[in-house]
Symmetry: C2
Subunit: 755 residues, 2 copies
């Protein structure tokens, strides 16, 4: 455990555990005890004069881990892209090291091992102490073989086990002498990272399709979808999993969560622990949630452009970073997973049931007149919710439930008493097999709940009047592979609405304890419809209410039209419109009513992500029945213009210009503008005190890309009056070898002399 | 949330959750908002003069909950035994209330409801606000019916739903008037507890056998087994689930753990939360673990005689109680479960693998000479471990995995990152279906791990030399139904050792990710055997080492006999004996060696529960093979004599005498003596500064039993030099009606006047 952590949060043993455990469980990668440089054999005579005796035996002069970006290891292991000078390799795939001895190696008499050691109390049987021998006759875990010998130099191939612990190993070379084991001393430049390997069939995270691996492991920018089901918005996000310091920050998160070292080879356990650690609840994790609209003491969730700032900040002492909402949790979690080599993607579920504990019923209570009873209505349906999927086998479940798994770091009020969720098999959710861990009933309810409208009578009793089974989990989206298109993956979660399979699955889920409204309310013979709207922030607009009469009689409805500013969570902030029109409709016909909404009615009350939510309810005079409809209007935002100039070369100066024109009739104050791009530009930020109506803000910032290839510059503008104005531009830096200075600076690794 | 809880531990919403949730999740039974005494109907005219208008309508004069111990409700619901004046009923079973009105009730025009309300923000759709109408035409949850009317008095029957929330409800009577709803004011004496109902088929905890219900729900004393597999000890324990204040203490534990009210009808969620809350890790729960041998700042785990003191102490402010080891956790957990009406029992698993994270392998490392390498051996096998089983359906799992479920409150280092365990289906464990939640792989490993002996070579590599597949999970015991006998339930956890089914199950478990030593080491042709021993504390004794030679040649072994004082967890404290005999044996024959152990070698170093653990290992000179054997000697203790005198009558004075003679040659200092008996005597304690060798301590204490029937007085003597000397005696207080004073004092409930 590193000293920088507050002591109260350290995993401690119980008061007085002397009689309980032999050693505390190793649960920190940062914790490192040096191995002894000389281990005397029990009963062996200790050498008196040092030099003369030992000089006869094999000695190590140099060890080269071939860790340059152009060397075989980082190229073959897809790790050259990490901004990290140490060796980074993946499991279940051979890497090479070159050892220079004091003389030629004699296979028959020389005994040596390369030792990989991780965490405290390293143990062979726990996989935290791994000696690798040049030939495989021993009962070792990692396979070693001699690839080549020439003069005093031996090239050795080492293949980590497919279930090796993922993390940072210390490396030693141990040589056996008649008196004991002689060992090289600790050299931090030899520390070697071992990651998950989606390219290796034996690895639990193996993903077959190369294009999908490129997207879900190697792509460090992505798109996160938000807005509303019928008016989808998107924002670019810089995941930045290869940026300097990010890999160490990810290991630090596992240390902070005290995940036992022995669990760190298992993607199920790592993903589960990370879902708990990405939020600060319970465990002082990475991000502090804030849904209040007041972000005075931190960064507004809408303002972030990427994960790098957040992770580097957290790594600097383990203090939770302010603030996050669901897409920030999902984006940073995605960085964590891709950084460790687990295929991962951010998905968005539109109309997501929430905080609902596996209950398949969301209740909306109406009073006797059909008006929403704000006192008794306690549930909310989120307009959208973002979570992550990560790809892995599930050896802990029966066959068939591996593949994509839901993990969610947004703290839920009711997920098994702790703020974490998953991994839950997407396939198990589709088939209603929610008996399999972890938290499947919860995720199932997020995509499958019914919305039930109740009428509350004078004596307090509730009568269900309408049930909408299609509203929740309407659409699940993720970014397409290789392009910036949307990809709908709803069908991986659910059978088509109304299909026989869907009904079967819902019945199965009920058997597993999901509670559901069973009685269908009597069907109403009139129907209210609210057609979708596209509205630009700041515009006046008109809401149309359609009334369809399915009956043979004339119908008259007393309507209530209520419009509220809502958070993306569906929680209403202020009611901005309330009207009581009366609408009549002839037998078997349709009539319409237009309700005008002016900008000044809603503009001053907008909260982030600027949604308006309308509920129209009406009581039929002739029958006493209630009809109701809802509509969420996600308001269009002005765009941020992002432009790049200068010569696109690695290590050459370039410029990015972010521009915004205030076309509103009001001032924008304390405007936070951010821009970053993985591989090309570290996160930058500028605060503009005032952008007056009709004026244009323009900010130019220089940068020097350090990596060739395609990337994006992701920008955002954010202020209290106007949340989340996104912008981005694509860049393409020509391949690195066109810039000779780059070549030289990255190829200076020498042979590390050990003695 | 009550004010007495420290604010840092309260379930808080995230910083700024205004936009996230409409209301915080209700998670405290103690939190109570009064319901308004008058709810005006929207738009209705408010009455101006009060009296004249309302007098015409139905008015409540009295409400009798029939809550006396002899009344129908407590008799039929098996709750008369609780020392609690409020009404206590069980789910899915009718209870009766008598309402006295101002006039005769007119079914056609009078509208009233009895309202049951629990926690904050009561909601109809969450089951926390339950109006019960006298006739069932409404869509209500709890069934109401008119049983009888006579003059102004109406007898109503109320049947709580089988999945009702378990806890303490507030009760109101609401009458509808033309102006609004008129309601009785809060009266704490009407607060009604609703418990689980093992007698009702519809309840998730239904248990068919009446004798088993009597044992596992109604019995408030029990026996907990400890010691060693081949030398079983037992101690009596006063569970005391019906004692004054215990029911409230159990509800407080759920409040402290912030278990959402909506989860409190589900035995799975209550048992899981309680397994986390019974230990103080993570959440300031009930008990502080201590395995150090130093209990200066609290009560030694071996000293407790029952759960009552512990729970009442915790309820007084929620400060964790010092100290516990596994049987204390299991015993208090058992009180919690039985108190709420869940069938539960304490079980003991002999040779329990521990802190082992579903790994089916416990490693013991030997050096090249066959001596145990204490530096590299990190695992320990507990001589025994106690946990709980509770009986329930598992609607969250496929059919067939309900019934007894393992729950364990002893904090484990490695159970899914939190200190809790279960419920895990015993049936699923037996059949290797460890893919079902919760924590099944962990429990599976506790009863199924292999012990593997490794030999560590000079270059650090390990070679398996012996595997013992029969050692772990040798015996699982619980108290028999209705008698004080032992009941072996090993076969509910495992198929017989060596059977074909056992192998199949182990293979299945491996498929689900349990790791196991696959290679069998070469069989040794000699075998070491340590026959079981019975030893009284303080005696000299002899250990016999048997050597059986299966080969056709002569064998000579260099033996190491190592004897250590160990905790019950198998963790060694001090090595007290170390000898190196040499033993020879002819072909196909047996030879023996006797090793003498004197009292003075071990007496000063004994820790609690006084176990000696011997490992004998030997290297065969002829073959270089290693043979090894282990033996745990649980040492016999002197007994405490407990005697009762006086006339056995309810409310009459009686006396208990606890006697102990110090037959050791040393002083016993600061001797803690405790005695208690559920229903007859509250916990008492006395500290004796000194009991000199050869002297007798005698302590007489008076008590007045308050309950008739059979019970036990459980005593213990405990001091640093001699831990856990138990004693008990059975009592039988003749049925209560023989004591007229008792009858009168318990039958004085009148009609509670509400106005």
């Amino acid at each position: 455990m590193s000293d920088s952590q507050p002591p109260a949060r350290q995993p401690r043993l119980q008061v007085g555990s002397r009689g309980r455990t032999v050693t505390p469980v190793a649960s920190s990668n940062a914790e490192a005890e040096d191995m002894p440089e000389f281990e005397t054999f029990d009963g062996a005579m200790t050498p008196r004069g040092f030099g003369p005796n030992l000089a006869e035996f094999l000695d190590i002069w140099a060890l080269d881990l071939l860790k340059g970006v152009r060397d075989i290891n980082k190229q073959q292991h897809h790790t050259a892209v990490y901004s990290n000078d140490n060796l980074i390799v993946r499991r279940a795939q051979e890497f090479q090291v070159k050892i220079t001895f004091n003389r030629a190696y004699r296979p028959d008499e020389d005994r040596f091992a390369i030792e990989f050691v991780i965490g405290s109390s390293p143990q062979f049987s726990k996989g935290t102490y791994i000696p690798v021998f040049p030939n495989d006759e021993k009962n070792t875990l990692w396979k070693g073989r001699v690839i080549d010998t020439s003069d005093n130099v031996l090239t050795m191939g080492i293949t980590p086990m497919p279930d090796s612990i993922v993390g940072k190993y210390r490396l030693y070379v141990a040589v056996q002498t008649p008196f004991g084991i002689r060992r090289t001393s600790r050299d931090p430049s030899l520390d070697t990272y071992v990651l998950f390997n989606p390219w290796a069939k034996e690895d639990a995270v193996f993903l077959e399709d190369e294009a999908e691996r490129k997207e879900c492991v190697m792509n460090d920018v992505g798109i996160i979808y938000h807005g509303a089901y019928d008016d989808i918005s998107e924002r670019n996000w810089s995941f930045g999993q290869f940026e300097f310091g990010i890999l160490d920050a990810c290991l630090f998160i596992m240390d902070k969560g005290a995940l036992p070292m022995t669990n760190r080879g298992d993607p199920v356990k790592i993903a589960r622990k990370a879902s708990a650690m990405l939020n600060c609840r319970d465990d002082d994790g990475v991000l502090v949630g804030n849904w209040s609209g007041d972000y005075m003491y931190g960064v507004a969730p809408t303002s972030w452009t990427g994960s790098v700032d957040i992770l580097l900040n957290y790594n600097n002492g383990g203090v939770p970073v302010c603030y996050a909402q669901c897409w920030v949790y999902a984006a940073v979690f995605n960085t964590f997973l891709r950084c460790l080599g687990m295929p991962a993607r951010v998905v968005t579920n539109y109309f997501s049931a929430h905080d609902n504990d596996g209950n398949l019923k969301m209740d909306i209570i109406l009073d006797e007149n059909g008006k929403v009873d704000r006192v008794h209505t306690k549930d909310s349906i989120w307009n959208y919710h973002c979570w992550n999927e990560c790809f892995m086998t599930r050896p802990d479940l029966p066959d068939g439930f591996g593949g994509w798994q839901v993990v969610d770091a947004t703290p839920q009020e009711t997920s098994d008493g702790m703020y974490r969720c998953g991994p839950a098999s997407v396939h198990a959710i589709k088939h209603g097999m929610i008996c399999y861990p972890f938290d499947s009933p919860f995720v199932f309810a997020e995509v499958n709940s019914d919305v039930v409208f109740y009428q509350r009578n004078r004596d307090g009793s509730l009568i269900p009047v309408r049930k909408n089974t299609q509203h929740v989990g309407r659409l699940v989206l993720t970014k397409a592979i290789g392009t910036d298109e949307r990809r709908e993956i709803t069908e991986t979660y659910k059978f088509p609405e109304g299909s026989a399979e869907e009904r079967t699955v819902l019945e199965k889920a009920e058997l597993y304890g999901c509670q559901r409204q069973r009685e269908d309310p009597p069907p109403a013979d009139v129907e209210l419809i609210l057609p979708a709207l596209e509205v630009q922030v700041g515009d006046d607009f008109e809401l149309t209410v359609e009334l369809k009469n399915h009956s043979e009689q004339h119908r008259t409805l007393d309507l209530y039209v209520s419009g509220s500013v809502v958070f993306y969570t569906g929680v209403p902030s202020t009611e901005v419109i309330f009207k009581r029109p009366i609408l009549s409709v002839g037998p078997k016909s349709v009539s319409k009513k237009v309700v005008a909404v002016s900008a000044k009615e809603y503009m001053t009350r907008l909260v982030e992500q600027a949604n308006l939510h309308f509920i129209v309810t009406g009581k039929v005079r002739e029958t006493g029945q209630i009809a109701t409809a809802m509509l969420t209007v996600a308001m269009r935002k002005p765009k941020l213009i992002v432009k790049v100039s200068g010569s696109p070369r690695v290590r050459e100066e370039m410029f990015v210009t972010v521009e915004f024109t205030n076309n509103f009739k009001f001032d924008l104050k304390d405007v936070d503008v951010r821009v970053e791009g993985p591989g090309v530009m570290t996160p930058h930020r500028k605060v503009h005190g005032l952008i007056a109506p009709g004026t244009t803000m323009s900010w130019t910032q220089s940068f020097s890309p350090w990596r060739a290839g395609p990337s994006k510059l992701v920008a955002s503008l954010d202020c209290a009056a106007l949340r989340q104005v996104p912008g981005f531009t694509c860049t393409e830096i020509p391949a690195w070898y066109t810039s000779p200075s780059y070549f030289i600076s990255f190829c200076t690794e020498g042979l590390a002399l050990l003695h």
